[in-house]
Symmetry: C2
Subunit: 222 residues, 2 copies
């Protein structure tokens, strides 16, 4: 059985390796886990020893298939728990990430299966993050960010890729949570601002940095 610590390392490696070639630097991992780089080097070698990852000295770490399997299962637990906390327990979506961080390591596969059924087999969590299937498949999402999508087209928010309570609070009060219908009304690269409008609402101003953490899809309805 992988310890909570090992599960955490694997989860963070998985998240950081998305998009790239799978290699994650020690520095990025240390930052993400809030430990010093030396600790990461030590642990990554232990991970490699256990067959969960391969360590390429001075280059980075990459998950093995076994490691990815564990990481995906942890991520699945995390996101299903978040969904439960929001949909069933009606908790604030800006808080559930922290809660799920603990529960993801304590929940058994048996409980997970029941929870999945109770929730109706969801494929994404309240932040729009995709939930890996029990067989370890994660639907590849290739959405465009609000920062670089065409103006004036009808859009639907599908995902918010920043789990910080502060950002999520802002998104919620702005009404930009997943499933919100919006369109980009203005874009000013000089000032680094874009403005979006909900159908029938007043314009909302966002920094480019903020808008790059909101993923959208084309929407039929305005």
């Amino acid at each position: 059985m992988a310890s909570s610590t090992v599960e955490n390392y694997l989860k963070h490696i998985l998240l950081l390796s998305e998009g790239g070639d799978g290699l994650v630097s020690m520095g990025a991992l240390a930052e993400s886990l809030a430990v010093v780089p030396g600790t990461v080097t030590t642990m990554v070698k232990a991970l490699a020893e256990g067959g969960f990852a391969r360590h390429h000295p001075r280059q980075g770490v990459k998950l093995t298939d076994a490691g990815r399997r564990v990481a995906l299962n942890v991520l699945r637990k995390h996101r299903l728990v978040e969904t439960f906390l929001v949909n069933v327990l009606k908790m604030d979506w800006s808080q559930v990430n922290t809660e799920a961080e603990q529960l993801e390591h304590a929940i058994s596969d048996a409980v997970l299966a029941r929870l999945d059924a109770l929730l109706g087999y969801p494929t994404s969590d309240p932040h729009g993050d995709p939930i890996p299937s029990s067989s370890g498949q994660m639907p590849a999402q290739v959405y465009v960010t609000l920062a670089n999508c065409p103006a004036d087209k009808p859009l639907r928010v599908v995902r918010v890729t920043d789990q910080s309570a502060e950002f999520l609070k802002f998104v919620e009060t702005s009404g930009l949570s997943p499933d919100a219908h919006v369109r980009v009304t203005g874009r000013n690269p000089a000032s680094g601002l874009i403005t979006v409008k909900k159908s029938g609402g007043r314009p909302i101003a966002l920094s480019l940095a903020a808008s790059s953490r909101i993923l959208v899809a084309p929407s039929r309805s305005a």
Copy 2:
């Protein structure tokens, strides 16, 4: 914050001290926690250091008020989680003890409060064990065991004080789960057996040892 290990020690001390004078022997605690006695001595001194317990060398350990507060909260989490697993997730009551053992250390007070509301503020779990209140009160149950209650009186099962999956399976298939209505029909101290009957069912034979783990209350209806 008390670690999972500390929480576990406190919980086991609380459970073992019930009924007695509050003093728990190192041996009993070691047995209950499945560690060697030397480990318990070491840990109990750390608990005392942290203000959770008082260590009386060669006699035993006793919780302080702070320790009891923590222990009751862990027990509350354990039993509310069990109730959730059975009532909401429809899990087998013989398995939920093991599951709750993990979850009791991972669930926050915020989640607990929501869970409590969802379940309708129950006062006992599926095994009939009393659930401590959020303020740390545990309803004192002074029930009689099936082993030494009067014969032929109508009884209601209120609690099963053995969490082993095997025993719970037996109780369930015998139909002696909490709220079952039964009466003692025979008692044979020589063979160590007693027989009970559910209203309209056939007699069930139990050892005295087994029947001492089933608590009952007088029942109006037969």
